[in-house]
């Protein structure tokens, strides 16, 4: 059962008259009620025009609590809205500023009703003055407990207009509603790979469009239960007359159990993506949800749903690379099931998304660096932490920018990514040469990709300089770089030990063996620097270095790889010259099965820097 409640309020006893709210509500109602668009139940769905407070409460009671209770509930409101005492209110005909809680519909009350009725999915769309004030209401709701744990409803909310802004109106209606209708009707493109549209993805498109006109909409929600059935996708290549329920029936019910088991963790990840981001925790949640034991069809659909939901949050982060990291994490989680066509299809789409996100992020970075050479410094509190973070950040930036040149499937995008990488390398070398230093084994993966990309693109001077800076600093610290997993609480201790060149009390922080030296020695042959490197190898006499060769690159997404080979060399024991190392490198036993696997393995090495994309040197 799908139930729609659409409210448009033009007339008010205690507020100014509006002219387009009723028309907006009617247009939304008329559009969504159609079987080929939203297929909401005509008997249970309601359109209310300038209703009173009690009219709305009665309609809500009927919509949510009359048997059979709805599985999908969609609520639309157009009219005056206001924020009072930290709560958002939707104004109705008899609403009064004095006593809003008794005369206007509070969003918090509606959430409570939804929570009690527990439809599988709820969509809330508000096009109102000051609807951006919703954030104040919603901040507290970012806890799964408030929506109930097991069996919690999926909830998506789209609010147009920001606080202190009036919802703008055009002759065709409120601009938010017009933008929404354009997506529903197919006049505006959302996506064309799924038969249904989710309110989150519609919201992202509406947000993009409305930002151009100065509005700042809110898109919020974690709606992962059941099919993403806000409405049918008119851009999907099926018969436009096919009822929505046909598409909904294709939804694998097994996915709900997976979501339910990880619901709290998903909420936590959702909250964190736009703010305090913990990539390890996010990866753990994604791995749990997208477990290879899940049926491949379910896996592909789940990955799609997670991508839509999390991409929207990532878009709001202060780190422009967040979207790429989120999409790549989801794509890499599919790696071990990539042989299934539907999984491969989804992974490729996520990779395409990663590529586009990388191009956008790198473009933003270039612009920022050209305006401010310190743009790569963090502006958070602890200044000294930059002595540890900056070298790692630089290799990550270079690694991701280089990765885009491998991931882009179209020639135009690849050319753009290659030009961007060349520019970024040049800017980083110009402004951050001093911080391009070998500090941690976590830098190996970014450098592996960046150096091999320099060689492939013919950026010889840049590659040599980058390689030279990293190798020299490795020699200076006698190969005693930090472990890739040094807790940040110990990083200062490592830096002080490095400054004093006394690691006697900090040996547990030093990596042994190290992948970074392996990367640098492999890269030396690309730039014909072996003879120069050989001159200094005695200074790191005794340093052990390593490479893990997996039996299968499809394993690159798992936390702990098994069954491969841990190759180890030691300077002054089995390697005295770079060439000896090169000769001893085993012939490739395994190569990535396809360009898709190679691109995903490469992304995995950036997300989990304890593995390297060695095939780039083959």
């Amino acid at each position: 059962m799908r139930v729609l409640l659409a409210i448009g309020c033009d007339s008010y006893d205690h507020a100014g008259l509006l002219h387009g709210a009723e028309r907006d509500a009617r247009r939304i109602y008329d559009s969504l009620i159609r079987a080929e668009v939203g297929e909401y139940d005509t008997n249970r769905s309601r359109l209310l025009l300038s209703p009173t407070y009690s009219d709305v409460r009665e309609a809500l009671r009927e919509a949510l609590f009359t048997e059979p209770q709805p599985k999908t509930f969609t609520f639309f409101f157009a009219g005056h809205g206001s924020v009072s005492a930290g709560a958002f209110y939707m104004w109705l005909r008899d609403s009064n500023q004095k006593g809003l809680s008794m005369s206007a519909l509070s969003l918090a009350d509606m959430f409570r009703s939804i929570n009690e009725a527990t439809p599988l999915q709820s969509n809330i769309v508000i096009d109102a003055c000051e609807s951006g004030g919703l954030i104040q209401d919603l901040g507290a709701l970012l806890k799964p407990g408030l929506l109930g744990n097991v069996g919690s409803p999926g909830l998506t909310l789209l609010a147009t207009a920001a606080q202190d802004q009036g919802a703008a109106e055009s002759p065709a209606g409120g601009v938010g509603t017009v933008a929404l209708l354009d997506c529903i009707d197919g006049n505006d493109f959302v996506q064309d790979h799924k038969g249904m549209l989710d309110l989150v993805e519609i919201g992202m498109r509406v947000s993009q469009r409305l930002r151009a006109s100065g509005q700042n909409p809110v898109v919020w929600g974690l709606n992962l239960f059941g099919p993403s059935g806000f409405c049918k996708n008119p851009r999907y290549g099926t018969d436009p007359a096919t009822p929505l329920r046909h598409a909904l029936q294709a939804w694998p019910t097994g996915s709900n159990d997976v979501i339910r088991q990880n619901y709290d963790a998903l909420w936590a990840a959702y909250s964190a993506i736009g703010g305090v981001w913990n990539p390890k925790k996010f990866a753990a949640v994604v791995r749990a949800v997208l477990s290879p034991s899940t049926a491949p069809e379910v896996l592909a659909i789940l990955a799609d749903r997670l991508a839509v939901t999390f991409a929207q949050r990532a878009f709001q982060a202060r780190d422009p690379f967040r979207s790429a990291e989120v999409a790549a994490t989801l794509a890499v989680a599919l790696l071990s099931s990539i042989e299934h066509p539907s999984v491969a299809h989804t992974a490729q789409r996520l990779l395409d998304h990663t590529c586009l996100a990388l191009i956008d992020a790198t473009s933003a970075l270039i612009k920022d660096l050209e305006g401010d050479k310190y743009a790569l410094l963090s502006d958070r509190g602890g200044v000294l932490s930059e002595l540890h973070e900056l070298p790692l950040r630089l290799t990550r930036v270079l690694g991701w920018a280089a990765a885009a040149t491998f991931m882009c499937s179209g020639d135009k995008q690849r050319t753009q990514a290659e030009a961007q990488f060349a520019k970024v390398v040049s800017l980083v070398l110009e402004h951050y040469g001093g911080a391009l230093t070998s500090l941690s084994d976590a830098q190996a993966s970014g450098l592996c990709i960046a150096l091999s990309t320099c060689a492939r693109l013919g950026l010889r001077d840049e590659g040599e300089m980058l390689l030279g800076l990293l190798f020299n600093s490795l020699i200076q610290c006698e190969g005693r770089i930090a472990r890739d997993d040094v807790p940040r609480g110990k990083a200062l201790e490592y830096l002080i030990a490095r400054r004093e060149n006394d690691f006697s009390n900090s040996m547990d922080l030093v990596a042994r063996p190290i992948d970074l030296l392996t990367v640098l020695l492999k890269a030396a042959s690309l730039f014909e620097l072996e003879a120069i490197f050989d001159e200094s190898l005695w200074k790191i006499d005794g340093v052990a270095f390593s490479a893990y060769l997996s039996t299968n690159y499809m394993n690159y997404g798992v936390s702990l790889m098994e069954g491969g080979e841990n190759l180890v060399w030691r300077i002054g024991f089995d390697v005295f010259k770079t060439a000896e190392f090169g000769v001893s490198w085993p012939a490739a036993k395994t190569v990535p099965q396809s360009p898709l696997v190679a691109a995903l393995a490469l992304a995995a090495s950036l997300l989990y820097p304890d593995r390297q994309a060695w095939f780039l040197f083959e």
């Binding site: 202060r318 780190d319 586009l356 956008d360 920022d368 509190g381 932490s385 201790e493």
Partner: protein, 213 residues
């Protein structure tokens, strides 16, 4: 896809949790340095840690002056160039600047507090009026009380002074007539005995002290 308009400056690959942990470790290190500094002036056993702000008082000892909290703060600057050049000497510099500043403020606060307490009860000595540094030392010793721990160990007072003043005191004491040394020793013996006696009297205020049933 387009890059969204950002109201705040972008923060590329900023590890907020990691930076917080790093900063916490820095504050911990700074606290260790500061503890060492304070222990040079105060016995750690005499250092109190209060859980809340405000005044402190001894309601059962009305003669003891009430005290209040004083905030010490220090600040330092690190240029962006030092960071982008990965200059690790910045760590030493920041630690040194902050700890020196905190030490300076701490000692100023400690001496001004002691000075105010002494002046409030007239327990001061003027070296010029005394006539000579060694006479001032003798008067100082007259006015100060020795203290004994609960085992009867008496700790003589400590003199805090700048290097020049210390040199002048030592020279004056060395040049002083033998009667001066005798006077000092007599005073020390008397003060020590008084301290032990005070400790005995203090213990006597308990119903029982150190006597097994």
């Amino acid at each position: 896809m387009n890059t969204p308009h950002r109201e705040k400056r972008a923060n590329y690959f900023s590890d907020e949790i990691g930076e917080e942990e790093f900063h916490h470790s820095f504050v911990t290190l700074l606290a260790q340095v500061q503890k060492k500094v304070v222990s040079r002036y105060l016995n750690p056993e005499n250092t109190h840690r209060f859980k809340h702000g405000g005044q402190w008082a001894h309601p059962a000892a009305p003669d003891v002056l009430p005290g209040d909290m004083k905030a010490l703060s220090a600040q330092t600057e690190v240029s962006f160039d030092k960071l982008v050049n990965h200059d690790l000497t910045v760590i030493d510099k920041v630690l040194r600047q902050l700890s020196e500043s905190m030490e300076r403020q701490f000692t100023q606060m400690m001496y001004s507090t002691v000075s105010a307490a002494a002046e409030s009860v007239g327990n001061t000595v003027d070296a010029k009026t005394a006539g000579s540094p060694h006479e001032a030392i003798a008067q100082m010793l007259e006015k100060v009380e020795f203290s004994s721990d609960k085992f009867g160990n008496v700790t003589p007072p400590t003199i805090h002074a700048g290097p020049e003043t210390v040199q002048a005191m030592l020279k004056s004491a060395a040049d002083a007539p033998p009667e001066f040394r005798q006077r000092i020793e007599a005073n020390k013996a008397r003060k020590t005995a008084e301290a032990v006696e005070r400790e005995v009297q203090r213990k006597a205020r308990f119903v029982r002290y150190g006597v097994a049933e």
